[in-house]
Amino acid sequence: MSIPRTASTAARVALLLLLPALARAQDPAGGVPSIVPPRLLASEPAVYPADAMALRVGAVVTVEILVRVDGSAEVRGEPRVDFWAPDGAEVVTSTGSQGFVDAALEAVSSLEFEPARTPEGGPVDVIIEYAFRFDPPAPSEPTPSETMAPPPVRISGEIRERGTRKRLPGVAVVAFRGSGDDVDGIEVVTDEDGVFRFYGLDDGPWKIYAEPDGYFPFRTTEVLAAGDALDVRYYLERGRMNPYDVVVEASAPKKEVTRRTLTREELRKVPGTLGDPVLVVENLPGVARPALASGDIIVRGSGPQDTGVFIDGIQVPIIYHFGGLRSVLPADVIDQIEFYPGNFSTRYGRFTGGILNAQTRGLDAETVRGTVDVSLLDASLLLEVPISKKLSILAAGRRSYIDAVLGAAIGDQTVSLTTAPRYYDFQAIVDWHPNRVHRFKLTVIGSDDELVATFESPADIDVRLRSGDTNVNTTFGRAIASHQFTPNEKLSNRVSFSAGFDQNGGAFGGQFDFDFDTIRFDMRDDFRWQIIPTVELVSGLDAFFATTDYSVLASRPPREGDPVPPGDLANPLFSEATGVEDFRFAPFVEADWRLFDRLSVIPGARMDYFSRLDALTFDPRIVVRYDWSPQLTTKGGVALVHQQPTLQELDPEFGNPELEPQRAIQYSIGQEWRPLDYLSFDVTLFYKDIQNLVSSTGATRTDSDGTTSPLVYDNGGTGEVFGLETFIEHKFNRNFRGWLSYTLSSARRTDSGESRSRFFDFDQTHIFSIVGSYLLPANWEVGVRYRVVSGNPYTPFTGGIFVSDRDEFEAITGRVNSERLPAFHQLDFRVDKTWVYRTWQLSAYLSLTNAYNQSNVEAISYNYDFTQRGQTTGLPILPILGLRAEF
């Protein structure tokens, strides 16, 4: 089909611009020599096209021109047209080339150059970009077209994506009639809002045609009656609803030895995670498989409390809801997950394990959008509303109904779940970016987990219980206000303030009762300054103030290495305090120094003040990266990190208020290789030396009044973790995305007063996982995950002693963590199907966890007197069906 462009009739020159930048020399050797650009010797003015007279728009036509050694010019490639309104206020609708291209092409033939020259002085062919600027004629200047009425708009409309209603800019839309050689038609291109207009079409039927790349062809017929002007909206369906090409953002250059960034769209469909991106972290190198339903994040053998979890850089008490099946942020609110298994930036500190930061997303909806997600676990609703182009709001909420599922599973046995485990969370985001320099964001998040159970026969649980009532709840909320200031590319500052609360309470059988209420204020500032092209400075402040009221009536919680909770129901400890203040303040600085275009040296330092310990720590760190080539990088780093003991460890009744910070020195060295754009290999060796490790002790202390009491804990422990992490990633390409992760590690500690080391509770020698997803036609997607993980160490029970007062046998234990559970292996599947409707889309998924029903051993069980052993196995094959509607 041939679509003739409307012919130019008359006009005058506007402006001619020569872009002096040299594009590329046609050097047979393929090199890029330093070349003297061509010089313009002669030109004829380009003529303002008559077709554009009615609109009075301005335009710049950019043409690629081959300047030959004889000085002649020849057009290469398709010219590009950019329009603007005469008053400069708003970009006007693009309506085809309106003759500008023809006018520009005609003008090219008049160009005459002095040819470009090589450094040796010889002429050489080069390709340059040449721009013709057309200013519209001033209204005061009479033109032939002014005597004519502008042609009327006959068809105007929008092109949107079917299902998501996203506006599609840059789509060529053709209106034509006739057939064969007798075709008459006009082509226009949608503007940035997806809007197009056809002017001056005659009455009668017009066929409309559009076929942008990646979309199914769109055809329809519009009939123009006399005097009619149609306003239409067309929905184009993607050839494939590919979630992976939605987000196209360059990832920040790496400044750490190991940083894994997981984007929401990439990870929603990983099998076995129920669509929760945070759970995907468990499949990354260095992360151990947590115990069933624990929700722990175990990084490089450290305990769960050694890894900090953050949302938008602000620390939160939990990242998972009850049972570890869901994170406290739904996938639709998360932009990306940053995970650092060690040697992290000085922006972070106070944790000797890893750092996990869930970044909420910015708002970019063009129209009201929303999602409804329903699964067997929970249901969620999200609504995003653009108030203006610069201001958007989002509100979301989720509520579980595990209570109903678990209640049905337990039935009417001895426990009645008044409020069986249930959680809810909510999020609200206000995003305002008045201009390119400022961006303000307010994020409000909240989470609540609660379980209330009543044991019909308390004595069946323990003869010492005074009640059958049991409950536990965890609630937290944060309001995070941030301001991003980016005056130019070299300078930026992001400051965040957060106010929030943590509440954690519970009671057990009338014997234990605890309640913690914390009010917390956080402040974080990240300042970035590109001092010179090769040096970037990052500095800032990471501080918080918290005040806690607590009351605890309970036995001492089990610690790392304790084989069984040593709970003494009959003689609980009691401690309470009000206004326990915790102020931590940490200025940090980091420089990224690029040397010889290959070497990055990133030294940094962080100083932490811990008010509860009245301690000041200094953490120097350094990361070095050397690029052997764009594909090959060697990296390494050393970091010192400090961590405050937990509140319980510092409590005078439950622990030892004289404890000092734990510290760890982290070493990493590794290699990255990216043979293809979508394929990368990463191997990292790591070693962590832990000192001042809080450890149980049988020693006693003498208080000021002369009384003696157990010291409970001291800093006499040490630890050592080392291993190898391998990560092979295949980014989305040819409909496939996946990765392989393998960790070989050893995590051992020596407790206070002991001469022999033992395994940490979460030492897992081998951690292997492979994850892959494949897009199929018709919006089907299949995914698979397979994991093989060494079993956790455990302390065997060698017998039991019958304690008559408690009417139960108590275990006699063997050497701590001297045996290991059998290896874990599991296969998970996931199938997704998306149906795309005009203004919304519906997705259904079936997740099959533990597809071959492997009975993985989660713990060793014993009979009542510990003379028989059995195995407690994990979840059997678990199919979960979910539905998700997006509009």
Binding site: S294, P304, Q305, L406, I410, G411, Q413, T414, V415, L451, A453, F455, S457, P458, A459, D460, V463, L465, R466, T470, V472, T474, N504, G506, F508, G510, F512, F514, Y550, V552, A554, P557, P558, V564, P565, P566, G567, N571, E576, Q648, T697, G698, A699, T708, G753, G799, I801, F802, V803, S804, D805, D807, I812, T813, S861, N863, Y864, D865, Q868, G870
Partner: protein, 333 residues
Amino acid sequence: MSSLRLTAMATLVVAALSTACGDDFDPYEELTGLRLLAVSATPPDLVQGERATLQALVVPPTRTSTVTQRWFWCPFTESVSTGLRCALSGEDVEALVSGAGGDPTALPPFVPGKGFDLGADATAQLDYDFPSQVLEGLCAQIGSNDLPDAVELPACDGRFPIAVRVEVESEGRVVLGATSVDFFYEPPGPTDRNAHPAVESLEISGPGLAGLVRVAPTGTATVAADETYDLLADISDDAVEVYDRADPTQPGRTEPTSEILALTWFIPGGSLDRVRTSFIEGEVSLREAESNEWTTPLRADFEAGPAEIIIVIRDDRRGVSWIRGSVVLGGDS
């Protein structure tokens, strides 16, 4: 205190799952093999000059099995994870007793790891025949001596718990048991002394039985296979004592509190509605604690003949007693 939260969560999950899921182990309530069901000291606490009689409720593997018992006591034990081993050597104890003004030569023979030997009879005698100042002195010395790390330090709140250990052996199998006896070294308060609770009688009703039938030690009530029977333990209201319980949240303060009574039911086979029942003032009534349901074994598992039902009753102050009765596993209902 995230670890506290995790502990609470884990406890609840374990509790919920353990009540929801069974396993293949022999159930606690089923009387199979050598069983040690209770260890009692009568009286449960002593003042200086008193003697306690120690007794174990043992069910032998078979009616003809021979059972032996051996008794020990120790003032300081290691943690329960090491089997409540006596934490001191004989010399340590002698030194401690001497240091506290006692006479170490009056002590019985000492067995390392177990304690002072009280003999191998079915019952043993534990005498508080030394000055109470000895215990007071021991309390004063706690912390100033290099006790082993794992020692469970006594509270020393006017009483000193003496650990009692019993080793029960039959047909080559040994079962360890433990209890403790409070020795008062300060004059006990009016409600501090405890008395054992008791089940007055045990009765059964159900298919084939004419109303409530008393289950006597030599009872002849005949029950059928795979049938459900009501069991009724008669507990006197007087069994529930009121005592001044220390308020753990306010040191030095006590409040009158009714004892918890917990009944553990043992059967020859089949299943119980509840393994334990309890009386908790304001929570669970005594009537609820007294009743249970027993579903007798299936015919395939039914070994005809006399069979024993035992109820052990405990309070939360180390008071314990039991009642034994016998029924006949007989024909169909």
